[in-house]
């Protein structure tokens, strides 16, 4: 392949035989699907879309994009792409920190794992080579101990992307976590690794091999322009912008103000204790540091230390908005110290901190309504929540049920209607009755309920790029498509999604063009994003997903919100019609003509 930017080296690792082979990237695929998320989905499709996600034939792809690990601002991201054991759909989950950059500096765009090792192994990556080494001695340990083990063995600089006990026990929402506690959090990527007996990917590399644009004169102004948008933004500006000062949890108060905080498993939509778990309070009471990722001046991570109470002495990162909601308001918990504790448990066991809050809140509602026998878990019982996290990771007692995830566990209880989930994955921290863009966003997301496929709260809450009324459904299908396509492209570069708070398609196009050497316009960016989104949908269609799966929990359709969202329910049918028209889909299915138009099929 002749394109710039890429390492042009992919490792295929057969864990069954132990064989490792290397290949170049197919240039046509790189041009069409860019990298990271997009190219990863293409590899998964070629691997066979209908494989059993729990079986050895499923592929686990660690995917960099052409900008990963470069000098581009916010380029410290990689995507883990696989078929999700939680949803049965395609999924991709991105992590920050330094692991992605180190993987690129070690000479790789992609690591494609197939098969299943008979005994636990880890992949050791350095200088363009992959070796499988025994991991028997660290199997059964948490992520933090695993990281320390490898750091002692191999020294700095080193990245470790590992699973904890949750992945080993194939908790359906297990994550892969790196040395900075950054997570490929959603979709159960850790369960796929655990099923393959793959404990970790260890990368030894330093920035002496950081890729740089061949044409320095062309790169400098392009890079400076993108960087300036980040530095000048009132949101991302280091030390002054809201995201930089308070982290993502700066959203707790405004979302609560509009009545968008699902409370007690979304039985209500406004939480009286929101201020106590907000970014403002965490900064005032608990913050001790604000670490960052490769090439990022924003430093949105929130490092905290607990000074009192049962978890005194706990030092962890990062206290983010999504788990602050899922484990906070959604479970009727207003103690940020408990949030820190359970997020840290999730980081160590390797679990999705969004899904776990939802599955616990679902069980709390089951307790409230006496759907379960025994003691259950009462609203706000934080000790029981901490204990449940232990049990889920180890699949012990009640944990074995909850480890199946919100939707499957509710089904087993006999009350699927109390699972706030779509296609098997639980919702995020924006109640769709108060923010209608998220209604169609959750319903149509290709990886199950997700706020990151198309971040419409930017428009509904903040006025980016235009202010839309959060309670109005009209126009949201079209708005969502734009966000989904733009994010699909940045996820394929792979730049942090927060770049979109300042940058747009033009900045993305300019950086891609100089680094990769392919002329590209902002229009091309949107088309490439659309192609990636349709490729994912095509993968799901081949697995039998269609319009019937683009749905929402009945609660959002029938039970009105509270507070400012009083009286509001979701007009799902109308929104789906508008969205499908914008996409050119037929009842959730990509027609053949669309696949041809986007060059997905010949």
């Amino acid at each position: 392949m002749e394109l710039g930017g890429y390492a042009n080296r992919v490792a295929r690792i057969d864990l069954t035989s132990g064989n490792v082979s290397y290949e170049e990237i197919n240039e046509k695929d790189a041009r069409l699907y860019i990298g990271a998320r997009g190219l990863g989905v293409k590899y998964l499709l070629d691997n066979g879309p209908t494989v059993d996600p729990d079986g050895p034939d499923n592929m686990l792809a660690f995917m960099n994009g052409p900008l990963t690990g470069s000098e581009a601002t916010m380029s410290g991201r990689l995507a883990v792409v696989t078929k999700s054991p939680l949803t049965g759909t395609i999924t991709d989950s991105h992590m920050g920190g330094w692991s992605a950059a180190r993987l690129r500096w070690a000479g790789f765009d992609a690591l494609l794992f197939n098969g299943r090792s008979e005994t636990p192994v880890y992949a050791y990556i350095t200088d363009g080579k992959v070796e499988l080494r025994p991991a028997d001695d660290i199997w059964g340990r948490g992520v933090h101990e695993t990281v320390s083990h490898f750091q002692e063995r191999y020294g700095d600089p080193l990245s470790v992307m590992a699973i904890g006990q949750a992945g080993e026990n194939q908790v359906r929402f297990a994550s892969i976590i790196n040395e900075d506690d950054r997570a490929a959090g959603r979709g159960g990527t850790g369960a796929v690794a655990g099923g393959k007996n793959l404990k970790a990917v260890v990368v030894k590399a330093d920035d002496s091999t950081m890729p740089k644009a061949a044409d320095r004169d062309a790169w400098r102004p392009v890079h400076q322009r993108a960087l300036k948008t980040i530095l000048d933004s009132e949101v991302t500006a280091p030390r002054t912008g809201g995201l930089s000062v308070y982290g993502t949890n700066v959203l707790m108060n405004p979302v609560n103000a509009v009545g968008g905080i699902g409370t007690r498993n979304s039985q209500e939509t406004q939480f009286m204790g929101a201020e106590k778990i907000s970014g403002e309070t965490v900064r005032e009471d608990l913050l001790v540091g604000d670490p960052t990722c490769h090439a990022c001046p924003v430093a949105c991570k929130i490092e905290v230390e607990i000074k009192d109470g049962p978890y005194a002495g706990l030092h962890m990162e990062s206290l983010e908005y999504e788990p602050a909601w899922s484990l906070g308001a959604n479970c009727d918990n207003d103690d940020p110290r408990v949030l820190a504790k359970i997020i840290d448990q999730c980081n160590d066991y390797g679990m999705d901190a969004i899904e776990i809050g939802n599955v616990i809140s679902m069980y709390m509602e089951a307790t409230q309504k006496e759907f379960v026998s025994g003691g259950g878990i009462a609203w706000g019982d934080t000790e029981a929540m901490v204990e449940a996290a232990d049990q889920i990771a180890m699949r012990e007692g009640l944990g074995d049920l909850l480890a199946e995830g919100t939707a499957k566990a509710a089904e087993q209880i006999g009350h699927p209607e109390i699972a706030m989930a779509v296609k098997g994955q639980a919702v995020a921290a924006y109640d769709p009755r108060a923010l209608k863009g998220e209604a169609i966003g959750y319903a149509t997301s290709n990886r199950g309920a997700c706020h990151l496929r198309g971040y419409t709260p930017a428009s509904e809450l903040l006025g980016i790029p235009v202010k839309t009324d959060p309670l109005e459904w009209k126009g949201k299908g079209e708005l969502l498509k734009i966000f989904q396509d733009l994010h699909a492209f940045s996820d394929s570069l792979d730049l942090c999604k927060f770049s979109a708070f300042a940058e747009g398609a033009e900045e993305y196009a300019a950086q891609y063009e100089v680094l990769v050497g392919v002329p590209i316009t902002a229009d091309d960016v949107m088309i490439a994003g659309e192609r990636v989104y349709n490729l994912e949908r095509y993968f799901n269609n081949l697995n039998g997903f269609d319009g019937k799966d683009d749905t929402l929990p009945s609660r959002y359709l029938e039970e009105p919100g509270t507070g400012p969202a009083s009286g509001s329910v979701v007009e799902l049918d109308e929104m789906k019609s508008e969205y499908y028209a914008a996409r050119g889909w037929e009842d959730g299915v990509v027609p053949e003509s669309k696949l041809r138009e986007l060059q997905i099929i010949d």
Partner: protein, 101 residues
């Protein structure tokens, strides 16, 4: 009484989370004028010029953004709450804006 709640970086400009006003009924614009008289540092944080709210600053009355009500002319009454958020997240995304327009 009308309560004006302030968030994020705005709090450091007034030294508290909220300010109470005795007004029984007034427009948002009038209440904000009184607020700024008390705390002049808020002026530049909320307005670019008189009656022009800074981009991405969100002003809500009982949880509804005044951009979807009657702007600064929106009436507020006793026991209402006004929330004011600085640009906590947002940006330009120029290409996307053009597309949506």
């Amino acid at each position: 009484m009308i309560e004006v709640k302030l968030y994020a970086t705005l709090r450091s400009l007034v030294g508290s989370k909220s300010v109470m006003f005795q007004n029984n009924a007034d427009t948002v614009g009038v209440v904000l004028e009184e607020l700024i008289q008390k705390f002049p540092d808020l002026d530049g944080a909320i307005f670019t010029e008189p009656d022009v709210v800074r981009p991405f600053v969100a002003i809500m009355v009982n949880g509804r953004d005044i951009r979807h009500l009657n702007g600064l002319e929106t009436m507020i009454h006793s026991n209402d709450t006004v929330d004011i958020f600085p640009p906590i997240a947002g940006g330009s995304a120029p290409c996307t804006r053009n597309r949506f327009a």
